[in-house]
């Protein structure tokens, strides 16, 4: 159990007596970092969380955005890092299950999944390969079985995740505004536990996730059952259609303890429940175990006595468990009984509100020297280097991953995975674009600018599809907050995200904090993951097929900021230098200009420039469109730089536009008017990826050969090395 001595004495003074063992278990689960956000909560308030499209309702586990015509989109992000590091298949699968239930609990149908996966060095480490392979299968098996398309994500490898795994899952839901669960309950309403049975799996999982992995407690990992989850989704949506649900919450971290206390606290009521009524998969479970079990695929539903029969009939149709475990009271107490005997009776505000911490922070000393560059070995053959990069795990195509995910089911996927952001069609004729991005290499060098960069990159990706960003999700993953230096990096990232969100008026609609991500070799690099949702009002006009003689225009300056780039880290094995910094004004200008030229249908395709820089971004366009391109590095806007820096700088706010030559003049006029830095830098055609500097050939590669390596290397690495 993870209660600190101070917390124990707080609890005693709040309730004025010794707590029972069940109360201690409930409090330990609910006051864990995972459930209570006790280290971060005070600071998270700085993020802007309201906006014209944001719908707020008490007790929602996901963010809700109004997308017009009576429809809403819901979104949420979660991670399942600790379990996935121990048992990657089950950890990743239950990670999907958890976030899907968050979407469901608002009363919306889940329509898309995104996964962000991070592991150690898969080229060297067999364990990292094992974690990667099984986490992918876990996401695939769960999402595919549910029939919810996994339409996007990212995969990254870094030595800082050695013997560890970050598994982030975001989900999107869609529904009618009028069908949203209102979360209004009355005294006497019934509390129903619906879905899978409660067992001993996942006992104390949230406490397990609130500590470093040193004391591996394997029984804390939950067991996935996507079939039950699918039945729950259909049963809940049928119950929603019949208006049988007064309030609803999913059972996640902290199990019943958390769901019951948080529901009661959020709705300002009391709940009395009987553990004997809970349907269990083992006969001799102690009340303590029942209260903190994190068995999956369970939902807490509050309904009225008159509606119960209909709810039971639905559960019977789907053959899922449905137990009335208690009822709503007006006393604001969480009262847990077994038959007539009381095992816990606590004020809900005590349970649901841990004492928040004000942890000290201190700038880590490594940051004073990290920006200094070291002399690098000169590159003699850039074509050879490019081939090496195409095959590198971070740059290689992730088709081996998303090819295992059903990304078509639901028949909404207009833009499929493998592009900048995926696009879904909505029932009101609008389109939703979404992407998640992270960049621990940048964040390690500069936690503030790195985090802003992740945010801007996710926005860029969404903008490349023609969508205007309307909301963001943040997932802040760091090491132990008790280390002031780590906590400083957390605060810096959070402040950066807040500044960007406010400047662009993009509300944070959901988020999660995951701390204590520590490996035997130390804390992970700061790893904020940002998800951005964007809306397109009419049918997207990009991407279209690129043909011979189409021209390539770059928007945005290329700067000397290669710290944390793949070029420095993968090629030169150097961690350091200045990481890219987002200029807010330029970012805004560039973003809105791209949206304008897409809206005016002047471009065929837009691709953002990120990992691997201009060299990789142009190559990706060539490889996905099966066409060559000749790029003039001397024409690239920005300060005068050596060719390697122009090729591989990961400066933000840059977009690559492919367009027919006849539209070039109109495009230039708009960009000039908007005072955007841009230049035509190349022309498509032939079957080669070529970069030249003045007249000198720098890179000359066959598209076909590049494609082969880029598409197959990740699969070969996982299966054959």
């Amino acid at each position: 159990m993870s209660l600190e001595p101070q917390e124990l004495s707080d609890l005693k003074s709040k309730i004025g007596r010794e707590p029972t063992s069940t109360e201690l278990q409930i409090i330990a689960a609910e006051w864990s970092e995972h459930c209570s956000y006790k280290s971060s909560k005070k600071h998270l308030k700085m993020l802007p969380m309201t906006g014209p499209l944001v719908i707020k309702e008490k007790g929602y586990d996901s963010g809700v955005l109004d997308v017009g015509d009576g429809y809403v989109v819901t979104a949420h992000i979660e991670s399942h890092n600790h379990p996935s590091a121990v048992e990657p298949y089950g950890g990743a699968a239950t990670g999907v299950g958890g976030v899907i239930r968050d979407i469901l609990s608002a009363g919306t149908r889940p329509i898309a999944i995104f996964d962000g996966l991070r592991f150690g060095n898969i080229e060297k480490d067999q364990h990292a390969r094992w974690l990667f392979k099984n986490a992918v299968t876990g996401v695939a098996d769960y999402g595919n079985c549910l029939g919810i398309p996994t339409i996007g994500g990212e995969v990254e490898f870094d030595d800082c995740y050695q013997n560890y795994a970050l598994v982030d899952v975001a989900a999107i839901g869609f529904g009618k505004k009028e069908s949203l669960i209102k979360n209004h309950v009355k005294k006497g309403d019934l509390v129903v536990l619906l879905g899978g049975s409660t067992g001993r799996d996942g006992i104390g999982g949230s406490q397990f996730a609130s500590d470093s992995l040193e004391s591996e407690d394997r029984s804390a990992v939950q067991i996935p059952d996507p079939f039950i989850e699918k039945l729950i989704i259909e049963a809940i949506l049928e119950a929603r259609n019949q208006k049988l649900i007064h309030a609803m919450k999913d059972l996640g971290g902290g199990g019943l303890s958390c769901a019951v206390s948080e529901t009661a606290d959020a709705l300002d009521v009391g709940i009395e429940m009987d553990v004997e009524k809970v349907h269990t998969r083992e006969s001799d479970m102690h009340p303590d175990e029942i209260m903190i079990s994190e068995s999956q695929e369970r939902m807490l539903v509050i309904t009225s006595k008159t509606k119960l029969k209909k709810l039971q009939a639905i559960c019977k149709k789907f053959h899922i468990g449905c137990s009335v475990i208690g009822h709503v009271k007006s006393d604001n107490q969480m009262h847990v009984k077994k038959g007539k005997e009381t095992f816990a009776n606590l004020p809900t505000d005590v349970v649901a509100n841990a004492t928040l911490l004000d942890l000290p922070s201190k700038k880590p000393p490594y940051l004073e020297t990290i920006e200094k560059e070291r002399k690098l070995k000169p590159i003699t053959d850039y074509s050879k280097l490019m081939i090496k990069l195409f095959a590198s795990p971070n740059i290689a195509s992730k088709i081996w991953v998303y090819g295992q995910y059903d990304h078509e089911v639901g028949i909404r996927t207009v833009t499929k995975p493998g592009h900048d952001a995926s696009v879904l069609r909505l029932d009101n004729g609008k389109y939703l674009s979404a992407k998640i991005d992270g960049n621990p290499k940048h964040c390690y060098i500069n936690p503030r600018e790195g985090a802003i960069g992740c945010f801007e990159e996710a926005c860029r990706n969404v903008v490349c599809t023609g969508a205007k960003p309307i909301g963001m999700l943040d997932h802040l993953q760091f090491g132990s907050p008790k280390d002031p230096e780590i906590f400083w990096t957390f605060l810096e990232s959070l402040k950066g995200l807040t500044d960007f969100a406010k400047f662009f008026e993009i509300p944070c609609v959901g988020g999660k904090v995951s701390l204590y991500n520590e490996t035997p070799a130390g804390p992970i690099k700061p790893t904020p993951i940002i998800g951005v949702l964007g809306l397109i009002d009419k049918k997207p006009s990009v991407p279209q097929k690129i043909l011979n003689n189409d021209c390539l225009v770059i928007i945005g300056d290329t700067k000397d900021e290669l710290g944390g780039s793949e070029y420095f880290e993968y090629v030169h094995k150097f961690i350091g230098g200045k990481c890219p910094v987002v200029d807010f004004e330029d970012s805004k200008k560039n973003m809105f200009s791209v949206l304008k030229v897409i809206g005016d249908r002047l471009v065929k395709s837009v691709h953002d420039c990120s990992k691997g820089g201009l060299a990789i971004a142009v190559s990706e366009i060539c490889m996905t469109n099966n066409i060559g391109c000749k790029v003039h590095l001397d024409a690239v806007p920005g300060e005068k730089l050596p060719v390697d820096r122009i090729l591989f700088s990961e400066s933000h706010s840059r977009y690559l536009l492919a367009l027919e030559r006849k539209n070039l003049k109109r495009l230039e006029n708009i960009l000039k008017k908007n005072r955007v830095s841009f230049k035509e830098i190349g022309e498509f055609g032939g079957d080669k990826i070529q970069f030249v500097d003045s007249a000198k050939s720098i890179v000359d590669l066959s598209v076909e050969r590049s494609q082969k390596i880029w598409l197959n290397s990740l699969k070969n690495l996982v299966l054959h090395s």
Partner: protein, 227 residues
């Protein structure tokens, strides 16, 4: 108006997609039928959609093949009613003995979701009668157990009785003779692994939505003749 039944098993997950295509794209009267219900005699065609009935436990389709509704489907199959099984629906029809062969795990042992091409090998079924022989259909697959297997004797028989309806245009998952879809001897029961319902709308089809639409247009023609 022509009535089409969409059978829903616990874990079906392409039922809503199929229903949308039948009713919103082809203006048919599509109705869901829960696996414990019976099918009305007045129905013109039955479709078993894709998904993970019973979570693919034991083997894809094997538990659903014992659902109460299967008896009705068997009767309709004998009567000559057009019946189409897509993906998990195909697996269920095979497990129920309505179609020959078996479906095994893909050669990669992974779930595969990708766009591929089908070649029409039999244009006499209710779902292919508007195709020309060897027409090409761009279409997505999404399955883990999609490798059609038939031993040599059965393959010979399938060819002889013209029961191979679709082949992939290249080897993708190790299917016997690149088979992607088959029919029963009478030709009225067709099973296919790829998903036509994901390919008939241009907005979500990156290649060409017309060929896969012909699968549904064939059905319309077939029933139109009956009426």
């Amino acid at each position: 108006m022509m009535k089409v039944g969409v059978v829903v098993f616990p874990g079906s997950n392409c039922d809503r997609d199929m229903h949308h295509v039948l009713s919103d794209v082809f203006n048919l009267d599509a109705q869901y039928y829960w696996h414990e219900k019976s099918l009305p005699k007045s129905i013109d065609a039955v479709i078993l959609p894709g998904g993970f009935s019973y979570g693919d436990r034991l083997r894809a389709g094997v538990i659903a093949a014992h659902s109460p509704i299967i008896k009705d489907i068997q009767k309709m199959a004998q009567k000559g009613t057009p019946i189409l099984g897509v993906c998990n629906g195909f697996q269920i029809l095979v497990e129920a003995g309505l179609l020959p062969g078996v479906l095994l795990k893909n050669e990669s042992l992974n779930f595969m979701c990708e766009w591929t091409n089908l070649i029409v090998e039999n244009n006499t079924t209710p779902f292919t009668n508007q195709f020309k022989l060897h027409d090409k259909i761009p279409i997505p697959i999404a399955n883990g157990e999609g490798r059609y297997y038939a031993d040599d004797d059965m393959l010979k028989k399938l060819k002889k009785k013209n029961q191979i309806v679709f082949r992939y245009d290249k080897v993708i998952n190790g299917s016997s003779d690149r088979i992607a879809g088959v029919c029963n001897e009478d030709g009225n029961v067709v099973g296919m692994m790829p998903h036509p319902e994901r390919a008939v709308e241009s907005e979500i089809n990156p290649v060409d939505n017309k060929p896969s639409s012909i699968i549904f247009e064939s059905l319309l023609t077939k029933i139109g003749v009956h009426n």
